[in-house]
Amino acid sequence: MLRLAEVSFGLEGERIISKISFTLGQGEFAALLGENGAGKSTLCRLSMGLLKPAAGRVLVCGQDTAAVKTSAIARQAGFLFQNPDRQICRPSVAGEIMLGLELTVPDPAERERRCRETLALFSLDPEAHPFNLSRGERQLLALASVLAPGPRLLILDEPTTGLDYRECMTVMEIIARRNREGATVLMVSHDMEVASDFARRVLVLNRGELAGDGPVREIMRDQALLQRASLLPPQIPALALSLGGQFAAAFTIEEMAALAANSRRGRL
């Protein structure tokens, strides 16, 4: 789905991304983690073809981003910007969702149907003016309009930042459902809990270098790696590691609860 080979990128003489290689297969759900300024957004833009690598190759669905137009890649991949105001450009919510559909779905009736479906899914008011929406609602709208055409690859730059807990869960559930239906997801997040709950694979970026790449359970327990990338492990794995012994393997609340119940039973 998405393949980066030895990708490097710099701006004004500064190296922002150096020699990054990884491959995301169909249906994977990967979280891209790293501190502010690590180069996550830059990596996302490279993956979408908005930036062309200085060295190495980026392949989206088999297409080399250096060889095809970004607007062609946009037919396969959806990209959510860190700042929703960048991408909202129509004067109504429904119009905004239609924009992506107009370019990908030729049949007007089908377009209408998908638009209504998306509006219902995100419980958005079709007539509202995007300018009057709150920051969280604008974020929802931006995501809705990216998801509406049904892209096979989703590149999401901080989809949950600025949302409250309930909205965050709504958004993540929708993304997770898309992922179960076969879409590949690359998601930037600063929320370690969200990343560990939803992603199955984690890429750790540290000053433009890929410091770690592996299953979420392994990476989230690699304290040395997380520390190097200035990341804090999620609470349960951190607790598990500091308790050690029989608890060390716990990753979710349920697992921890089960282990705790076991040990209590053992003592009784």
């Binding site: 607007s71 946009a74 910007f81 960048r86 909202i88 450009c89 924009l99 370019l103 300018f131 055409p149």
Partner: protein, 256 residues
């Protein structure tokens, strides 16, 4: 990252000038270009600007601006040179297209003036802090509100450019063909984008205004700035040079 119209920090002789002298000098140079009909004088102003840039230690960006301007100038030159019909024909092409000596001279002057006017302003903005410029303008008697609005507006120009390119990038990611090579197609796509640009700008300006209000913008008076500017020997030299240039232009005008 520094934009085109941003202040470039430095401590050269030019940087330390009184902001008013910088302002007067650069506008004086522009004035000189428009008063004269002489190509050589305009060329002289350009050389003078480059000299100024070298003194301020920013010859490189100035040359970059010059390069960009030259490209634009070439286009403008070509657009002009065929339309002047008076004068002696120097080059005759088929289809009743020809170039006259007057056309050549007029287009050259036009293009030289364009360059000569842009460079001093560019240099002035690069070596003057916006706050200094604002203060200088208020000293001149311009109400602070207007001076502030003026300098802020100038600062917003490069921001607009950046914002526009980001919005276009976002649209490209949605599948809009901004990466098309067709100019007309691109223009047709750009026009609807003025709305989001306007909206985000209005929001930003509103926020800046509220922030300024909260920090006591309205209680500011003419002499509220704590910085005092003194006119030194450098200022005298620069203003003297300006008088000489303007005198040369005047002499050329009457006797040339």
């Amino acid at each position: 990252m520094s934009g085109l119209l941003d202040y470039v920090p430095g401590n050269t002789f030019l940087h330390r000038l009184h902001p008013l002298s910088k302002l007067i000098f650069s506008f004086g140079l522009c004035l000189a270009c428009f008063l004269t009909q002489n190509h050589w004088l305009v060329l002289g102003v350009i050389v003078c600007s480059l000299l100024q840039a070298a003194l301020a230690g920013m010859l490189k960006p100035a040359l970059a601006v010059l390069r960009a301007l030259s490209k634009l100038s070439l286009l403008l030159f070509l657009a002009q040179v065929f339309f002047v019909r008076q004068g002696q024909i120097v080059l005759s092409l088929p289809l009743d297209i020809y170039i006259t000596d007057q056309g050549l001279s007029f287009s050259c002057l036009f293009v030289l003036r364009l360059i000569a006017v842009t460079l001093p302003l560019f240099i002035m903005l690069s070596i003057t802090r916006m706050s200094d410029l604002t203060n200088a303008l208020t000293r001149l008697g311009l109400p602070y509100k207007y001076a502030f609005a003026l300098t802020t507006a100038m600062r917003f120009i490069p921001l607009f450019g950046k914002e526009m390119s980001e919005i276009m990038e976002a649209q490209t990611a949605r599948g809009v063909e901004f990466d098309s090579k067709n100019f007309c197609k691109k223009l047709k796509l750009i026009l609807p984008l003025c709305l989001p640009l306007l909206l985000s700008s209005v929001r930003r300006i509103e926020n800046s205004a509220i922030a300024a209000e909260l920090r006591g913008f309205n209680v500011r008076k003419k002499d509220s700035g704590y910085k005092r500017y003194v006119l030194g020997r450098g200022d005298a030299a620069v203003l003297g040079a300006l008088v000489l240039i303007l005198a040369a232009v005047g002499l050329e005008h009457f006797y040339g």
